[in-house]
C-alpha cells in the first residue's frame, strides 16, 4: 500500500479542502493534558463591573506550569477591527512560562495591551488578542442575567463569544524562541504553546460572560449549562499574513502532510475492520454529516462546496449500507471508490474520518510533525549540476506544464506592505512594487533556475553556479530539500490569477484543528477553534478527544428542532 503521491496531495485545491483530524495540534494537546492529568487554576480574577481587569489561568503538568495572563478592556465599538492593523482590542493575552509574580504582571500590563507596540520577553511564549462577537456576547450576558439559558440554535449560528485576531509565538515581539522550548515534551509538537493559549482564552471568555451577567443581576443571573457552554469555541479571523507560512517552512509542511498521509496509508492497509472499528467510523460519519448542517458560510464557492459535501457524505453512508466494507482492505476500497466519485472537500473529509477508529495506528505520528529548521538550511555546493537536474526532473516536473509566457500566469506578486509590515498580494501588471517581490513565486523561480542551469555541464558543481548566480540561491536550497521532504512544496503556480489564498490559509488552520471554515473573501477566513471541547475543569471527567464533531444525540435533537 503506497502513500498518496505529492503530485496528488500537494495541489492548492486539495490542501484547501483539508479538514481537522486526530493529528491536529489542538487534539494532540488535549489528549496530552488529559493523559498527564494536568491541573488548572484561575489564580487571579480582578475584573470589575465594567468587565475591565486582569485574570491569570495556570496550567500545571508533570514538569512545568504555564499561565495565561489576560487583560480585559473596555473597547469603543468604533475601534473594533479584526484586521491586523487594529490598535485596540476587547482583550489581550500573554502565555507566561511558569507562574507570574506581581512584577511580571505589572511588566505585562504595561506591554501586552499594546500588542505590537509593546515588548514581551523570553519569559513569555505567546502574545494574543481577541475581540467580542458583540451581538452574541451581549445577548448571552442579557439572557443569563435574566436567569435563562441562550437557545442552542443561536449559539450554533455564531459558535463563539470572542475571536482571536492574532496569536503570536516563536520569538515574536521578544517572546521565547521556538528552539529554546522545542525540547520540552509538552511543547515538542508544533504550535502547542499557541494552542494552549487559545484553549485558556476560551475558558476566559466564558468566565467573562458569566461574570458580566452576574454583575448585571446578582440575584437572578445563572451560569451557562455545561452542555451549552461547551458549544462555544473561540473564533478566529485569519488573513493573507498566514498564507506565506507554508512556503517559508517547507520542511514543516512536509512533516505535517507526511504524517497525515502515513496515517491514511496505515488505515488503508488494514486488512480486516472489526465491528467496533466499523461502528466508530459509521458514528463519526453520521456526526460529521450532521455537523456540516451547522457549517454556515456566505462565500459562494464554499457554500456550493458545503452543499456538495452534504450530498457526498450521504453517498458514503449508502456505500456502507451497500456493504463496501465487507471485503479485505475495506478502508482502501472505500477510499478508492471515493477518489473516483466524490468532491475534493468530501475526499479530504473522508481521509480525516478514516483515521478516527485507529488511535493506535495514527496518534503516534503526531510526534513526527515538528521540524528542526536549523538543520537542512545549508546548501550542498558539492552536489553536481547533473544531480540537481535529476531532482528537478523527479520532483518539479509539474513546473513544465505552466506557461509563464502568459500574462495570467504571472498576474500576482507577493509583497510586504510598508504600512503594516504584513504580506500582501498585488496585481503585477496594474500595481507598483513588483521589483520588491517576495521570494514566494516558487514555480516561476524554479522555471528560471532551470533556464539558468542550461549552459552548465552535468559534472560541474553547484558551488560554481551559485557563485555566478546568487539570484537562484533560494531556489537551489529548496530543490535540495525535495528528495528527503517530498511533500515540502505546493505543486501549483502561486502567482497565477486563479490563486485562492484561502486554500493555503485553510490548509494550515486544518492542521491546527479548526472547524467551520467561513471564507469572508478569497483572502481571509473565519474559523472556530475548540468548539465542543471540554473545558479545563472538565478534562478529568470527560473524554479529551471526542469533541471534533458534535455528538449525535445533540445533533438529532437539533434536527428535530429544525423539522418542527
Amino acid at each position: 500500500m503506497s502513500m498518496r503521491s505529492p503530485a496528488t496531495v500537494m495541489k492548492a485545491s486539495r490542501l484547501g479542502a483539508f479538514h481537522q483530524s486526530r493529528l491536529s495540534f489542538m487534539r494532540q494537546l488535549l489528549r496530552r493534558l488529559k493523559d498527564e492529568h494536568w491541573q488548572f487554576q484561575r489564580s487571579v480574577w480582578t475584573v470589575d463591573n465594567q468587565g475591565v481587569g486582569r485574570a491569570v489561568y495556570t496550567a500545571t503538568g508533570p514538569l512545568r506550569s504555564y499561565s495565561l495572563v489576560a487583560f480585559a478592556h473596555d473597547l469603543d465599538p468604533a475601534m473594533r477591527s479584526d484586521r491586523v492593523i487594529a490598535t485596540a482590542w476587547d482583550a489581550t493575552f500573554a502565555l507566561f512560562d511558569g507562574i507570574p509574580d506581581a512584577d511580571d504582571l505589572a511588566r505585562l500590563e504595561a506591554n501586552v495591551p499594546r500588542q505590537e507596540a509593546g515588548r514581551i520577553s523570553s519569559r513569555e511564549l505567546c502574545m494574543a488578542r481577541a475581540n467580542r462577537s458583540v451581538r452574541m456576547f451581549d445577548h448571552v450576558v442579557q439572557t443569563l442575567s435574566e436567569g435563562h439559558q441562550p437557545e442552542r440554535e443561536e449559539i450554533d449560528e455564531v459558535g463563539y463569544l470572542m475571536r482571536t485576531t492574532a496569536v503570536y509565538g516563536s520569538g515574536k515581539f521578544g517572546a521565547a524562541d521556538r528552539e529554546s522550548i522545542a525540547l520540552r515534551p509538552e511543547l515538542a509538537a508544533p504550535f502547542q504553546a499557541e494552542m494552549l493559549t487559545v484553549y485558556l482564552i476560551r475558558a476566559f471568555t466564558l468566565d467573562l460572560v458569566e461574570h458580566m451577567a452576574k454583575v448585571r443581576a446578582p440575584q437572578l443571573a445563572v451560569s451557562l449549562a455545561p452542555e451549552l457552554r461547551r458549544r462555544f469555541g473561540i473564533g478566529n479571523s485569519t488573513g493573507l499574513g498566514m498564507a506565506p507560512f507554508l512556503l517559508n517552512h517547507p520542511v514543516l509542511l512536509n512533516n505535517w502532510v507526511s504524517a497525515r498521509e502515513t496515517a491514511l496509508q496505515r488505515v488503508r492497509a488494514v486488512q480486516q475492520a472489526c465491528a467496533e472499528e466499523r461502528r466508530v467510523f459509521a458514528d463519526y460519519l453520521k456526526r460529521a454529516s450532521a455537523s456540516v448542517s451547522h457549517w454556515h458560510c456566505e462565500h459562494e464557492l464554499q457554500r456550493a462546496r458545503i452543499l456538495k459535501l452534504q450530498d457526498d457524505l450521504s453517498r458514503v453512508e449508502r456505500q456502507l449500507d451497500d456493504g463496501i466494507l465487507d471485503q479485505n482492505a475495506p478502508w482502501d476500497a472505500l477510499y478508492r471508490w471515493a477518489e473516483g466519485v466524490l468532491s475534493l472537500e468530501a475526499q479530504e473529509c473522508l481521509v480525516s474520518l478514516l483515521l478516527e477508529p485507529y488511535a493506535h495506528l495514527v496518534d503516534d505520528l503526531g510526534g513526527a510533525m515538528h521540524a528542526d529548521e536549523q538543520q537542512n538550511f545549508v546548501i550542498d555546493g558539492g552536489m553536481s549540476v547533473g544531480r540537481l537536474r535529476e531532482i528537478l526532473q523527479a520532483h518539479y516536473g509539474w513546473v513544465a506544464s505552466i506557461d509563464f509566457a502568459s500574462e495570467s500566469s504571472q498576474a500576482l506578486f507577493w509583497y510586504v506592505s510598508e504600512e503594516k509590515l504584513e504580506p500582501r498580494i498585488g496585481q503585477r501588471f496594474n500595481e507598483p512594487g513588483q521589483d520588491l517581490e517576495q521570494p514566494l513565486a516558487v514555480a516561476r523561480d524554479i522555471h528560471r533556475l532551470q533556464a539558468a542551469l542550461h549552459p552548465y555541464m552535468d559534472e560541474q558543481r553547484l558551488a560554481g553556479f551559485l557563485l555566478q548566480h546568487p539570484e537562484h540561491r533560494h531556489s537551489v536550497r529548496r530543490v535540495q530539500l525535495a528528495p528527503a521532504f517530498p511533500y515540502a512544496d505546493i505543486q501549483d503556480n502561486l502567482i497565477d490569477q486563479a490563486l485562492l489564498p484561502i486554500d493555503l490559509v485553510r490548509c494550515k488552520l486544518s492542521f491546527f484543528g479548526a472547524t467551520h471554515f467561513d471564507p469572508r473573501s478569497d483572502r481571509w477566513v473565519r474559523i472556530t477553534l475548540y468548539q465542543g471541547a471540554p473545558f479545563p475543569h472538565e478534562l478529568t471527567k470527560m473524554p479529551a478527544d471526542d469533541w471534533s464533531c458534535p455528538s449525535l444525540d445533540s445533533q438529532e435533537q437539533h434536527r428535530e428542532c429544525v423539522v418542527e
Partner: protein
C-alpha cells in the same frame, strides 16, 4: 531592546535584502546573525557594520576570485558574508585540499557561522584563524575560541580555514545570552529592511489583505 533570535534573523535577512543581496544570500545573512547572537556575540551589530560597507556595491565587487591559491578580490577587501557562503559552498575543497585561504576580508567574525556549517556538513573539525586569533569548530558545530587576539578586528589581511584531526580541547567554548539589540543598530537595519516594503495605495489597502467587510458581528 531585547530581541529574540527569530526577530534578529528576520530583521537581518530583510536588511541584507534591502542592502542589495539576493534573497538566498539574505537568508544566509539572517542565519549568520542568528548564529552569532545565539553564541553570545552581537550578530546584528556585526552585520550592520558590514552592510554599511556593502551598501551600494554591485555583487561582482563583493565576490572572491577563487581561481587562485588564496581567494581574493583585487583592489578591495572581501565581504565576509559572500566569502563565507562561498567557503561553505566549496566545503568539499576543504576535504580535497585540507585548507582554504582567504585574502583581505572585513569583519572576519562573520565567517564563523559558515565555518561551523562546513564543519557540520563535512563531519570534520576545522580551524579558522586570522592575525593572532584562532577558533576551532567541532564536527558537531561547537565553536571554541582558542586564542582571542584581534578576535573583534574590523579588517584583517588574511584568514585561513584548515581541516584538523580533532579539536584541541583547549580554549573557551563560545556561549552566552543574546546581547541587547542597540537602538542605533536596530534603526539602521530597519531602514535597510524598509527598502523591501511596498508603500500602500488606497486600492491596495482595500484589496491587498482582502478586507473591507465589517468586523462588528
Amino acid at each position: 531592546m531585547n530581541a529574540s533570535l527569530n526577530e534578529i534573523e528576520n530583521l537581518c535577512k530583510k536588511a541584507a535584502r534591502g542592502a542589495g543581496l539576493s534573497w538566498g544570500l539574505a537568508e544566509e545573512a539572517g542565519r549568520a546573525a542568528r548564529w552569532l547572537s545565539g553564541n553570545g556575540l552581537d550578530g546584528p551589530a556585526l552585520l550592520a557594520a558590514q552592510l554599511r560597507l556593502d551598501d551600494g556595491c554591485v555583487y561582482p565587487q563583493l565576490t572572491p576570485d577563487i581561481g587562485t591559491e588564496c581567494w581574493e578580490r583585487a583592489g578591495r577587501s572581501m565581504c565576509p558574508l559572500i566569502a563565507g557562503v562561498t567557503l561553505s559552498d566549496h566545503a568539499y575543497l576543504l576535504h580535497e585540499n585540507g585548507r582554504v585561504l582567504l585574502g583581505k576580508v572585513t569583519h572576519p567574525q562573520l565567517l564563523m557561522p559558515f565555518a561551523t556549517a562546513s564543519a557540520r556538513q563535512l563531519g570534520i573539525a576545522l580551524q579558522l584563524s586570522w592575525q593572532g586569533c584562532t577558533l576551532e569548530f567541532s564536527p558537531a558545530g561547537q565553536a571554541v575560541l582558542i586564542q582571542a587576539d584581534n578576535f573583534a578586528s574590523a579588517h584583517v589581511e588574511g584568514v585561513s580555514c584548515i581541516c584538523i584531526k580533532t579539536t584541541s580541547g583547549a580554549g573557551q567554548a563560545l556561549s552566552g545570552s543574546i546581547p541587547t539589540l542597540s537602538n542605533s543598530v536596530h534603526d539602521y537595519l530597519d531602514s535597510l529592511a524598509a527598502r523591501t516594503y511596498v508603500p500602500a495605495s488606497e486600492a491596495s489597502r482595500l484589496s491587498g489583505a482582502g478586507a473591507g467587510l465589517s468586523d462588528n458581528l
